[in-house]
Symmetry: C2
Subunit: 384 residues, 2 copies
């Protein structure tokens, strides 16, 4: 294998560059110009003409490794960067991947290439699919989740709901991501009551249900809320990395004193994926980046609900959650966003068993029958 070139075989342990696929709009000349621009913009941020000869020009600047035409008036470019420009730090990795060029038209990050030992510099998900299954004692069926909602209910009513979901056998009972620290339901009161209710509901069924409070919070509160969640016996955490920053989520995953699985919510991240010409692919953003930032499951809107993701987008997310990436664990796709019970068979056909279903409002439609709805939900996944 040629040194400094991305190798064809993975894993590779002899290179000092990592590589990234970008989609560049335009004809070949335009794509080549965009690639040359990207190589400079994502590293040295100045014209090639004023760069010193040697190390910087030869090593630091990004390098176009391959260019291939796509069907849709664009080119796919593989660009390599030296591992060292990231300093091994996630914020700077994100900056190298898509910092300045996010501000330009016609550059889309498609995926990072699994090729180098580089990705294993990041610890990634602490639990991943296998770890979360072990915590829940569910070896193979799809996992079930739901959301405690709506915002505006007092803590005791939210907790009552949470308890009924657990009693109905839901594996993961999470806060709606809009529940934060509102005066009508403060974080501490809500989380403590919900955790207790889920514990009791779980005891009724003899199954393990985990409660995931939303710990998305001001930067100087995030860790405190996660610690509080741990202390009161919450079994998981809900985090919105678009609001906290990806690396803040990573600190929770890496924290040996917490050891709680993390469900990542996509709030505020949509602008990265609403264009097919700019931004970041569903595969890279919701699959690869979420794993690099330590999520054990990624929530996203499945096609045909309240949001506009296509089936292809959803397939990309699912693929990104499990494609080889250093030795980082695979994580669960958690499709939601307006899913109903009657769509579960279709979702199961699409995702298979390695999935967390997220059905929220539909379980509440006939509130007297929440447990019955949960039971229906369970039955849909209990048979293989």
């Amino acid at each position: 294998m040629e040194h400094g070139k991305p190798c064809q075989e993975a894993p590779c342990h002899s290179c000092d560059r990592f590589a990234v696929w970008y989609l560049l709009r335009g004809d070949e000349a335009e794509a080549r110009a965009k690639a040359a621009d990207l190589c400079l913009e994502q590293t040295v941020e100045c014209p090639a003409a004023i760069l010193p000869e040697g190390f910087i020009k030869d090593q630091v600047v990004g390098r176009l490794e391959a260019l291939a035409r796509t069907d849709g008036g664009a080119y796919r470019a593989l660009v390599s960067f030296p591992d060292d420009v990231t300093g091994g730090e996630l914020p700077q990795l994100l900056n190298v991947l898509y910092g300045n060029i996010s501000l330009k038209q016609g550059f889309r990050l498609e995926r990072v290439k699994d090729c180098f030992p580089f990705w294993s510099r990041f610890r990634g998900p602490r639990f991943g699919r296998a770890g979360l299954r072990a915590l829940l004692g569910v070896p193979s069926r799809p996992l079930l989740s739901t959301a405690v909602k709506p915002m505006g209910l007092p803590p005791e009513q939210l907790a009552q709901l949470a308890g009924r979901f657990a009693a109905g056998g839901i594996d993961l009972v999470k806060d709606d991501h809009g529940l934060c620290n509102q005066p009508f339901a403060t974080f501490a009161e809500r989380a403590e009551r919900c955790a207790e209710a889920v514990r009791k509901g779980s005891a009724q069924t003899g199954r393990q249900s985990l409660y995931a409070p939303n710990v998305t919070a001001p930067a100087d509160e995030l860790r405190k809320r996660a610690d509080f969640a741990k202390r009161i016996g919450a079994g998981a955490l809900l985090v919105c990395p678009g609001l906290t920053g990806f690396d803040a989520m990573r600190t929770l995953a890496d924290d040996d004193t917490l050891q709680l699985p993390i469900l990542a919510h996509p709030a505020f991240l949509g602008s990265f994926v609403t264009s097919s010409e700019n931004g970041i692919s569903h595969y890279a953003l919701f699959g690869q980046m979420m794993r690099l930032a330590g999520a054990d499951a990624v929530i996203f809107p499945h096609s045909g609900g309240r949001f506009g993701f296509s089936l292809q987008d959803c397939r990309e997310v699912a693929d990104g959650t499990q494609a080889p990436l250093g030795d980082l664990r695979s994580i669960f796709p958690a499709p939601g966003g307006g899913m109903s019970l009657q769509r579960i068979p279709e979702l199961r056909a699409f995702y298979g068993n390695e999935v967390i279903f997220l059905v929220g409002g539909d379980l509440l439609r006939h509130s007297a029958e929440i447990e019955k709805n949960c039971e229906r939900y369970r039955k849909m996944v209990d048979n293989p």
Copy 2:
């Protein structure tokens, strides 16, 4: 003034809702449907049909206050939300403003409305324009800044450059935002050497030059780097809130032990502004949100450089940095992104004196003449 409706006069001290302008694509029926969707999606996240009557339906859900057709096949909707849904916390404010609907097509956040005492719950910029001018001892002319670059130079060479910029009379000498903690120039060594060099250069001229190291870092390192910067006498900080999260920047601004002005860099935020139909306006993102998150100046690419912002985009940024927003301070627009010395007169005509010019690579074109280039740069703003 009617209670619960946005008032026409500012400031208003009797309402408990804040209001936001969105651009919604489609005809009137589509826009009304989008507005209704937004009111639910940004708060309770479930269909109106399953909401309990009373407080939640009447108060918690967003409320369409006004709808007006625009010239371009869209409607402008004013939507109000109760102050309390934010819990007074910036991450949740961002979530209410643009969390879930970021994932849908045809919703663009245009601006938050200055109308309620609400915005003053956020401390915002510590220095703002007046405070930064006072630190620099520059009462009225445009401020000058440049970047220490390129990535890949060893600390001593970066520091030499920084010193020459200061000796040339540049007000703000900042790190290139890609300089983080690379093995070829660690944060600590680079920052310490550059701070010292800027201090010496500054002493030569008798003018005050401030060095702004890039403290963008892993979440558990950010505060340490800022503290280090303070300790070694750096006079300002460079932060990329797209990489750290907006609220992480806010914690640095709010920290009474730091008291350093903050230059915010737009890396990784471009996807919010690359579409005219989705995302967030330049006005709201680079003006209003940066102020809410404590930046004292916002860096962005001026039209006609290496990036594609239009003059109208740049005007929006500048307007957003100074439009009334509670009692938050005005901040400096810092147009850069491939600006040359010869464009300074044009930039000055466009922005006036309340601006920080950012010229990077162009000062390095003839490296023997850095001080001379800086002198030219200074002369361009010294005359009124």
